[in-house]
Symmetry: C2
Subunit: 334 residues, 2 copies
């Protein structure tokens, strides 16, 4: 039998059925997924968080992860960013005919391992296959459901003047790790993607104080875009200090070489938190105890000046406006 | 400004932001979607149904619908098939660079109109763009959340010997409508896709009796595959009568010409119901009052013979085994 995925694996017929029952269910199995009905049914009560992302990262395997791990962590993190405890994922594959079963198996194993770390279950799914040349190896969509604890109200429009801006670790690692594997762009670096589920870190922070104003994970568009979104949603200014932003020397070097601003480079295991000034130090301390927060730093504050604008005090003492990413310097980074 | 979607529209930066706020939000707007946080938050209590599908139909516009309408109806129908009232959708685009804004606008309008008919809201979403040649115009993923009324327990493993098999209308319309537009395969037909949200019909049927055993929508793989899945899940035999299966003359003619079995051709606005013998006639009557059920028919029954097998009494009086679709006669039909 061929090791390749064929169009017929997406037909909805016998080969689809075999793929699901022989390759997916034994790895991702749980009682809800195994019912194989058109929709999964579970009990739920409370504030429900719902999110989705499609993952088109190129290449599908990169240092520190692959598209499967990314598809779990990315969606888990979007749930965590509204303070939710992630519970359930849907998982949908769009496969280019010719992907090998062994590549797909590796990715399914990686999905399983990421769901185990995050404590979530895949409870419903779908598989489509398109002809060679009509997709690029594999795209994955996940949607996620989580429950938001009763008193939590975290939103991009909650930032207030005087709040502190915290980032949970070094910026730009994911983007540079993926770029280093990109065809025609190979360069040598030891940088690994930071791809990780952040719900544990968020839970830890909410234990310190439930009154966190905003969480956001600076993925596509990087830290600069995320801060701009918050400043626009909350109609406040944000001022950050270049010297305080955690940045690996290798990432800085790669950015210099490629002409990139590390503040525009994607992260997949970092969060930005806007927190009340009085909570900032305690939160920072608890973050640094956590494996996904050990390089956390306070990088700036929320100001009344220039609402909707982000400014940075540079290492040379100058002040410059930090804009959203314009154009796409790094297509298909996630 | 170019009418084309560019890679930068998927960057997560400024053009992504503009696409969402200027092209999507004004059409799909609702208070939850408009928060633009990483996840949407809503109250929920009860039995929650969750499902997902990616849509890769080719071409993206076809008689009776387009990929947008399909992406709403398909997911709404998967929720309805477990008896759920559909409430919320996520919406994720994977766009091939070069798709025009006007094509995308048409599809977003079509999504809006389908959500209005089905009574659901898009509350979270995502947009990715890949280079020309790395996808085929547009893929859409939707995931859906619905609420299952307390007493309802509909599942593919509930069919019992003596139950009746009902189909809600003519089979094969969607597949033939899409095929008629396929490059290199143009033939003349007046057939329109049956693509429609079935939650209204399901609600009507559950009003007649909450004790429906199984619902399933015979999409990819057609009626034959769906019946095989139910017979396997419930470990029963299913016997159907060819003469009782509603089938348009034009669909039969197209199938004859193309060498297809209409029982393997996809539907997007039909359901199969397995119901207790005593409820069958009353249900049929109520279905025929509904615009999406006016050709409904009882096509067979559940038997104790050959568990896991579907057999059909043909128009000529012979009996033949009806198998799942093997291979993929109709790639990218949904």
């Amino acid at each position: 039998m061929s090791d390749k995925i064929l169009l017929a694996h997406g037909s909805g017929g016998k080969l689809s059925h075999d793929l699901v029952t022989q390759r997916f269910l034994p790895i991702l199995s749980n009682p809800i997924l195994s019912t194989l009905n058109d929709a999964a049914v579970v009990g739920f009560q409370g504030k429900l968080a719902f999110t989705t992302d499609s993952y088109v990262v190129n290449p599908i395997f990169f240092p520190g992860g692959d598209i499967g791990k990314l598809a779990v962590c990315g969606t888990v993190n979007d749930l965590a960013m509204v303070g939710a405890k992630p519970l359930y994922l849907s998982l949908s594959f769009i496969i280019e005919e010719g992907l090998t079963h062994s590549e797909l198996d590796r990715i399914v194993a990686s999905i399983q391992s990421a769901t185990a770390e995050a404590g979530v279950s895949v409870i419903t799914g779908d598989t489509k296959v398109v002809s060679h040349g009509c997709a690029d190896k594999l795209f994955i969509n996940t949607a996620g459901i989580g429950v938001v604890p009763e008193k939590i109200c975290i939103s991009g429009d909650n930032a207030r003047v005087g709040d502190k801006v915290i980032v949970s670790g070094t910026v730009g690692d994911h983007g540079i790790a993926v770029l280093s594997q990109r065809e025609g762009l190979k360069f040598s670096t030891s940088i690994q993607s930071d791809c990780a589920p952040l719900n544990g870190l968020v839970e830890e922070m909410l234990r310190v104080t439930p009154n966190i104003r905003c969480f956001r994970d600076p993925t596509r568009g990087g830290l600069a875009t995320t801060l701009n979104e918050i400043s626009e949603q909350s109609q406040v200014g944000i001022r950050i200090n270049e010297d305080d932003i955690p940045l690996r020397r290798e990432v800085q070097a790669a950015c210099d070489m490629l002409g990139l601003d590390p503040l525009h480079v994607a992260n997949e295991g970092k969060l930005v938190a806007i927190v009340a000034q009085d909570d900032a130090e305690r939160l920072l301390e608890s973050m640094r105890q956590h494996k996904h927060g050990d390089d956390a730093a306070i990088i700036g504050e929320v100001t009344a000046e220039r609402p909707g604008r982000v400014v940075m005090k540079t290492s040379f003492g100058a002040t410059r406006i930090i804009d959203m990413l314009v154009g796409d310097i790094l297509p298909r980074i996630c």
